[in-house]
């Protein structure tokens, strides 16, 4: 009987040690990207305003929520889309499995969306998934700073060199 208690106590100890160890493991796994900054860049404008008044080649700082489609991230690349904070998305109680696709307000998304991409030395998109590089997910609020790229059709892309993830 004693040996049974011994095994039980040993098992519980392993369990407790296992649970206690995870936070420190998480801390070491946090991304240390050169693009991720601790201080929020100043002078951020909304995505909607930037779409209306932003100019090609100018420095720009945008604030928005990651989303705009079912899959706002580009698999394998440091790129994603952000939507103006003023555009509403499905509330938790509505039970929408993908609120970041703005399914009920798609007509408003068109003028309030921008693409954010991080490029490498050659100017091509950085081949690292943004979710891992920046530790972000759908509906994360981000402030991105970089250079605006705007084409003749009015599509806005930010070539970001700084990304700040706002904690709500």
């Amino acid at each position: 009987m004693k040996s049974v208690y011994g095994v039980l106590i040993a098992g519980m100890l392993v369990f407790v040690v296992g649970c206690g160890a995870s936070p420190s493991a998480d801390r070491t796994d946090e991304p240390t990207s050169q693009y991720l900054v601790d201080a929020e860049p100043s002078g951020a404008v909304s995505v909607g305003d930037a779409n209306a008044s932003g100019e090609d080649g100018q420095p720009i700082t945008l604030v928005g929520l990651i989303g705009g489609s079912t899959e706002p991230f580009v698999d394998g690349l440091a790129a994603f889309t952000i939507v103006d904070e003023s555009v509403p998305y499905c509330a938790d109680e509505e039970g929408c499995p993908t609120p970041w696709d703005y399914c009920c307000t798609q007509d408003q998304v068109k003028d309030n969306i921008a693409t954010v991409k991080i490029v490498d030395e050659s100017g091509g998109p950085l081949a690292e998934d943004a979710r891992e590089l920046l530790s972000v997910k759908e509906l994360s609020k981000v402030v991105v700073s970089g250079t605006a790229q705007k084409d003749e059709q009015g599509n806005l892309t930010v070539v970001a060199d700084q990304v700040f993830v706002k904690k709500d």
Binding site: S69, V74, K117, G124, A127, N155
Partner: protein, 384 residues
């Protein structure tokens, strides 16, 4: 001491009618299992072989997961070619296939009409859809179509009705069948292909449904996807073809779950039928079993002999069904919403079908055998 092997075999021959009926019942159950498993395996194979890992599909963001509902601007193939690198290009031919794809009512010469899947294609299409092989006839010219190996099944017509030289009618125009193609069991085999410009003219559409791009090893599906996200005005999205068909696999998951539950239910029904049959068989042999006990055979040996009979019969039924399934069922075309696919009696289907068959033999024979042995030997010897 065990009963001789021949004892069980001879016992089966002693009651030929009962043995034959039991064999037919067991073979029917196993055949049902073959049909359902063959359906699941065929559907899975059709969806898994339909995608090419190097091909990226670009279609409308508004079409959800259904490319049939997609409509994108006709200039998108040129924009993609100019803006995104990494597409295969050989002898001046870029492997980018603009396609118009839709379901429409197709009528044959016998006036039989069915819902067909028609794809308007160009000469670049077979370069991108690398699994497609023209097995008969020639590539379509103006007013001509080529039909997939399973197109007749999709239309619900006979093979002869869409043979070479026959005429089909859809979108208010007559089309002559100029060839037949196969594509290794993929979804295209249920389609009808014609020239893109002819199909656009017939449908009075100038847009496209999708663009399929064959990427070189240096190409990246992510870059195509990034282009689509940057050009929000075009309202397009990109997806690797294998991912597209994987999402369809998810879409058909309830169907597959239902089919697997049918397998379980059919097997359970088979086991109950087997039990019923074996109870009947053993009930008529109470004296024989008691005699065997009286002459010194152990209960375990008698149970083993009865199970041996059941398994022998079930294995024979499974083999019979297996041969029938392989010769008659395998490759049989089945029509479903997305097209058509062939029933597939592969190694997994054989294993499951025969496994269920042998299980029927064991589980069906054990309870009645144990029940018969519970009676007193003296009482059993006197039973009529």
């Amino acid at each position: 001491m065990l009963l001789p092997w021949e004892y069980g075999v001879r016992n089966l021959a002693r009651r030929p009618l009962r043995t034959l009926l039991t064999l037919i019942a067991l073979a029917t159950v196993v055949m049902l299992v073959f049909v359902v498993v063959g359906f699941i395996r065929g559907l899975e194979r059709s969806l898994s072989t339909s995608g090419d890992d190097d091909v990226v599909l670009v279609y409308s963001v508004n079409s959800e997961e259904n490319i049939e509902n997609s409509a994108i601007a006709a200039q998108i193939p040129a924009l993609l070619t100019a803006s995104v690198g990494g597409t295969v290009s050989r002898f001046g031919m870029t492997h980018v296939s603009p396609e118009l794809y839709m379901g429409t009512r197709v009528k044959n010469e016998l006036d039989e009409a069915g819902l067909g899947l028609v794809r308007g294609v160009t000469l670049a299409t077979p370069l991108v859809r690398r699994s497609v092989r023209l097995v008969e006839g020639s590539w379509p010219r103006a007013g001509e179509v080529i039909v997939g190996r399973l197109a007749a099944a999709k239309l619900g017509s006979s093979e002869d009705a869409i043979a070479l030289g026959k005429t089909l009618e859809f979108e208010g125009k007559q089309w002559t069948v100029s060839g037949r193609f196969a594509s290794g069991g993929s979804a295209y085999e249920s389609e009808i292909w014609c020239r893109l410009e002819d199909f656009q003219a017939a449908t009075k559409r100038q847009d496209l449904s999708l663009v399929a791009m064959l990427l070189s090893p240096e190409g990246s599906a992510g870059e195509v996807s990034l282009f689509c996200k940057e050009r929000t005005d075009l309202e397009i999205r990109a997806i690797r073809e294998t991912d597209y068909y994987a999402s369809l696999q998810q879409h058909y998951r309830p169907v597959r779950l239902l089919a697997w539950s049918v397998v379980v239910m059919v097997s359970a029904a088979g086991i109950f039928a087997g039990l019923n049959m074996m109870y009947g068989a053993v009930a008529g042999r109470v004296r024989e079993i008691a005699t065997l006990q009286a002459v010194g055979f152990r209960r375990r040996a008698i149970v083993l002999s009865l199970v041996q009979e059941g398994v022998l019969l079930a294995a024979s039924g499974s083999l019979l069904s297996g041969v029938l399934a392989l010769t008659a069922l395998n490759g049989m075309a089945v029509r479903f919403t997305m097209g058509a696919f062939a029933l597939r009696i592969d190694s997994v289907a054989i294993l499951i079908g025969c496994g269920v068959g042998v299980l029927l033999g064991v589980v069906g024979a054990l309870p009645p055998a144990l029940k018969a042995l519970r009676s007193e030997v003296a009482t059993s010897l006197k039973s009529v």
